[in-house]
Symmetry: C2
Subunit: 184 residues, 2 copies
């Protein structure tokens, strides 16, 4: 069991080429997946205060020490990042061929995971320590991120506990929610 | 190794409450994830010819025996479906607690996996054989579907082979694509 929503690893998700109008919902799904699957934060290149509010509201309600920052210069972030840089792309190496090596490196390194919205510039491929694919088919950056984090953490993200105002009581039928400790 | 994009299982994905304007991109990501992770088809409740074209274009280019149908009455589909009906919801039972049982049932049953866009009516919870969650946190139907199929197929979806006009040659840097058998 982990501390409240805190794995002993440092994983950052970097969302690049975010276009506030076109990508808000997909980037929201990327952010929520990052939060629930054990990342510390999501950094988004374009400033988007709506997106910050949406994601912060979920964290406020459901708990966890997760942060969002938008308006990040991703090129200088990546250049100065000292840990392992992973770019998720359908063109990359199959995740299962490198995951053992990555799990070992996770013990002593921070990870930055890059997921692009529209076309990713070639310098990101070159700057990344690994270009990794999930299935080598066109899928979705949302499912790619989920699968990658699940493989990296060997499923342990499923044991994360979040302590927020709201929590779900798992149920075979219907919805059971605890609000400030009281079952609704 | 599997036959070309064909697992020996019958999995259908049912997307409900799709709103063509608001949900087109998310539903596209759901469909592409379904295709790459071994489902036979995606059935969408509202008619959306744009969506059909987008998804069919990917299948035409990248291969696989995957189909999309939109304008489906999901209530009558679910009522008459004779196999195992799974509804993915953050309120459901944790996937890892039921996955062994589901893998056994997959050997002899078709599966329909329901993913909602907006609020899912309570009759879907009642009609489903299982209501299942991935993390019991708000994530995304895209990542929920990917994780669920990966668990159900025990990672074997990563070995699927698709034969299309285009195929990716996995690469540590850059992009290598085969177009009609020729490397670009």
């Amino acid at each position: 069991m982990f501390k409240e929503a805190c794995l002993l690893v440092d994983i950052h998700v970097l969302r690049i080429n975010h276009r506030p109008f076109r990508d808000k919902r997909i980037t929201t799904h990327v952010a929520l997946t990052a939060r629930a699957f054990g990342a510390k934060d999501i950094l988004v290149d374009l400033k988007d205060e709506d997106l910050e509010q949406i994601v912060n509201k979920v964290t406020e309600n459901f708990g966890g020490d997760f942060h969002i920052r938008t308006g990040i210069n991703y090129r200088s972030y990546l250049r100065s990042f000292k840990g392992v840089k992973i770019h998720l792309t359908m063109y990359g190496l199959p995740v299962d061929t490198v995951i053992g090596e990555l799990r070992e490196r996770l013990a002593t390194n921070e990870f930055a995971i890059v997921v692009g919205a529209s076309k990713v510039p070639i310098d990101v491929y070159n700057e990344s320590s690994y270009n990794i694919s999930i299935t080598n088919q066109p899928i979705s950056e949302v499912s790619a991120l989920a699968l990658f984090l699940d493989r990296l953490l060997a499923g342990k993200e499923m044991e994360l506990e979040f302590k927020g105002k709201l929590s779900i009581i798992p149920s075979g039928k219907g919805k059971k929610v605890k609000v400030n400790g009281n079952i609704t």
